[in-house]
Amino acid sequence: MATAVKGAARTAPPLPGPERPRRIRVLSFSQRLSRWDVKVSPYLYISPFFLIFAIVGAFPLVYTAVISFMDWDQIRQSGEFIGVDQYAWILTQPAFWVALRNTFSIFLLSSIPQLILALFLAAVLDRNLRAKTFWRMGVLLPYVVAPVAVGLIFNALFADNSGQVNAWLGMIGIGPIPWHVEPFWSHVAIATMVNYRWIGYNSLILLAAMQAIPRDYYEAATVDGAGAFRQFWSITLPSLKPTLIFVIITSTIGGLQIFEEPRMFDQFGEGGSANQWLTITLYLYNLGWGDWNFGRAAAMAWLLFLIILVIGLVNLFVTQSLVGDDGGRGPKLTRAQRRALRREARARRAGRKELRR
């Protein structure tokens, strides 16, 4: 077997000599199987997801796309094709634009603090704490307690007259805030509900990802004299990049689709008498389940989809440029480690060849 000789020009042809028996390149069965394995496996691995999706995800998507162009009677399952009329109707509704404004406002008020706090919390939880499991899982409680309870609590907190928050504000001399009248304050209250529910959740996602960062990076940095914040900025954040992208994209999608919290905010679930806290998804829901106009609701859903797509791409862009790059090929091994790997592999192969011969 010709081994590359160090220093030899690779372009030099092999020296003519006694005829060596040429090895016939026949792929053994196992080699062919292996190649097929490499080619086909990825598709096999993704197929369970896509199969299920084809059954339960594809049909609703197509269905809503189709009825968005129709005046659809859901009960009689019939309708007439009216082109883009539903889309046009929505775009001419003041309620739509108000809902858009509300959605963005609540989105910004919730996503940004959420991300920062979740990162902070994850960093705190990443340490070598006593009773780790208790602290780490404790932060998830707001997410798991049933919405009816959380809704009761927040309604009691943010009631305009009898609410606790206004009572506390009164104690420090600030006048009662009309949570259910002023759009901005309603957004603040709703964003608070959203943040409360999701910060623990996102921090656990980030924490799981932080667990995968090799600890000796931090130790090396400590030896080099880097402080906690520096380590966080230069080691944690870049290593977290794929997860950060994940969190930002899912927060964007989730944040633009906020539905439960605005619905629970008052007893009617319609976003306020002047649409003060009507979000797009809530508007969609009311069109579909309130007015029973599913064609319109479907058109709204696809409009929302477009909006999310645009904002999502923007966010992705921003994240890619803000957070340092780690190459995306996973944690880097040092050169010494790589050399060790190669040495071991070679030794093992040699050993096996010995056995085969």
Partner: protein, 305 residues
């Protein structure tokens, strides 16, 4: 120097061993030996107290009676009727508690396990395997998350009614198995957590694709898989609307049956919130399990030099 890859006794295939990192002198090194300062615990106490509040509040009201919720002079100490209220909830003929509990447990478990497996498989493929179409397919998966779920119930029911699947408990399981969130999560996590060199090493040793997945991927994915399991389980557990629409009233899941405590114009919230506490307890058990999987350095040992 520790052995990075130990040959399997059975003959020649690579396994990745988690080994205790040792320093130059062979002493076992503590990964992160330094305990954090006391004020960290202060922050944590504040955060956890805040997080505990809804559960405590539910317990507080659930320990009272029908007037406790609106009582302006309500005390912060539980009244002591909790077990009585819990018994009322459990024995309420409308609520069908044990059946609903069982339905919730088995459907949530099946959904969570299936989602973790499917998502890890797909995530592995998207993150570590190169194949034509992977980028557009992943983008498609992520894009499906942008279509709001509220509308999906309508055509889904129509379809299920066509197939004759309505009223069957399996009808709640199937729609929740396709989790774009799960796939995306595992993709990003594995992308970050698994060094490519490990895969190359395993492949060089002749491991098949599935073997590589099993030994490298599944091991690395443990914290993420635990979190995904937990989140999916909770989501399935608390899901109200779809089970409400698609299931028989006689065969409900827990949120649907507990919602019946809110029928009547005058709602007795002490019972409702006692029900909330009962419904949250099984989840707490899961917390302990998932929390223990959040182990630092699963792959750290593998890459120790």
């Amino acid at each position: 120097m520790t052995d990075l890859l130990k040959p399997d006794q059975a003959g020649g295939e690579a396994t990745v061993a988690i080994v205790t990192p040792k320093d130059r002198h062979g002493r076992a090194r503590r990964i992160r030996g330094i305990r954090p300062p006391w004020w960290i615990y202060g922050i944590l106490v504040a955060v956890v107290l805040g997080s505990l509040f809804p559960l405590y509040f539910s317990f507080l009201i659930g320990s009272g009676d029908s007037s406790t919720l609106r009582d302006p002079n309500r005390s912060w100490i539980p009244l002591g009727n909790f077990f009585e209220n819990a018994a009322t909830v459990v024995n309420d003929p409308n609520v069908n508690f044990w059946r609903a509990l069982w339905n919730s447990v088995w459907t949530s478990t099946v959904i969570a396990v299936a989602v973790v497996i499917f998502s890890t498989l797909a995530g592995w493929a998207f993150s570590k395997l190169r194949f034509p179409g992977s980028k557009p397919l992943l983008a498609f998966v992520v894009a499906t998350m942008a279509v709001p779920q509220q509308l999906g119930v309508v055509p889904l029911y129509v379809m299920f009614a066509e197939f004759g699947w309505t009223g069957k408990a399996g009808a709640i399981v199937v729609p929740m198995l396709a989790s774009a969130f799960g796939v995306f999560w595992m993709t990003q996590y594995l992308r970050q957590a698994v060094p490519d060199e490990l895969i190359e090493a395993a492949r060089m040793d002749g491991a098949s694709m599935i073997r590589t997945f099993w030994t490298v991927g599944m091991t690395a994915a443990r914290p993420a898989a635990a979190m995904l399991f937990l989140f999916t389980f909770v989501q399935a557990w608390n899901n109200f609307f779809w089970p409400f629409i698609v299931l028989d009233r006689q065969d409900p899941t827990l949120p649907v049956s507990l919602s019946l405590l809110q029928s009547n114009h005058f709602v007795d919230y002490s019972l409702v919130l006692a029900g909330v506490v009962l419904a949250t307890l099984p989840l707490l058990a899961l917390f302990v399990f998932a929390g223990k999987q959040l182990v630092s350095g699963i792959m750290a040992g593998a890459v120790k030099g």
